[in-house]
Symmetry: C2
Subunit: 195 residues, 2 copies
């Protein structure tokens, strides 16, 4: 977490630094992002950065927290009672909605898919666990075949959804259509069919 010297900064300055971080982390993967660029964009000296944050991971986590606060005001919270497929589509639509007002946020997420640094992998693992739980619940509910490997499904969805956004050139219509296709295919593949 940021140091006290950062916390005590004026809101204006904190905003400037946050914006600079968003700009950099939405352009380059965490691994490639440059602190030099961030300080340049924020208009603060290099030395000051290290008065505020321990390192690159520190400011990245801070940025994610701020984004999380911001995003909750834009998109409706995910309905915890929804099944897995609905949750994924809700998530995809949320990505688009957020992407419309804050395109950078969606890009930050998309860039995590092509970053296999230990730091990013650990972040993703935590986020995936939530979805694994939903799949397991759907299995208990008799909605998803019990023999399906949750981890495989998560990977298919996660990688596809984000990579697609990255490669579809952030074209929302195309993206949503492709995700819908992918979800349909997987749904057909793993759902219990009533015949």
């Amino acid at each position: 977490m940021p140091k006290d010297t950062f916390i005590n900064l004026s809101e204006e300055k904190k905003k400037r630094i946050f914006d600079a971080a968003v700009k950099e982390f939405s352009t380059r993967r965490f691994s490639d992002a440059s602190i030099n660029q961030i300080v340049k964009n924020a208009g603060i000296p290099k030395g000051s950065f290290y008065q505020y944050f321990a390192d690159k991971e520190d400011i990245y986590l801070y940025m994610l927290e701020e984004i999380s606060k911001d995003i909750h005001e834009i998109i409706e919270p995910i309905n915890l009672n929804s099944g897995f497929f609905e949750t994924v589509m809700q998530r995809a639509k949320g990505t688009i909605k957020a992407g419309k007002t804050r395109p950078e946020y969606a890009k930050i997420g998309a860039l995590t898919v092509i970053d296999n640094s230990d730091f990013i992998l650990q972040l993703l693992r935590a986020s995936n666990e939530k979805y694994i739980e939903i799949i397991e619940r759907d299995k208990r509910r008799g909605l998803i075949k019990p023999e399906i490997d949750s981890a495989v499904v998560i990977k298919m969805i996660y990688i596809f959804v984000f990579n697609e956004y990255l490669y579809s050139g952030f074209d929302e219509t195309l993206y949503l259509k492709q995700v819908e296709n992918a979800v349909q295919i997987i749904k057909q593949g793993i759902a219990v069919h009533q015949d």
Copy 2:
């Protein structure tokens, strides 16, 4: 393509340079790979490299060609009459077989998935077209639902198959099991079912 000065080199020296390229490109993505590292590992001066190759793309393409020659001696050629799913599994098994004797080759392929540089994207696009054709043929044969978006399927398979190899820590058994699961799910999702 490499310059004549390279072509004229002794086989031994060419091999050394090829090996150095394989070592570097199997460790870091094309975008991150370092020519300095390659020349260090090959034991040639920096200046010589530029006598042999135009740039990083040049040696990468040369390396791919050499690998392609080498690989055809290891794995059986893909049966052109197979359906899409069999082709994918053949490909996955080929990856493993090649990975057993030449682990670096598989890693080079895996690293392309997390590289979205223009150069790599262009290479992948060409390779994907082959598979799109196979899917289209299966549609005509009545094996795959005609309404399925081939591009979506390709992306699911391609990204998953390679990413999985990257993240499964190159554990062949785990990898093959996961790919089989994924293919099963997609097969269930896109195949025409005889009921």
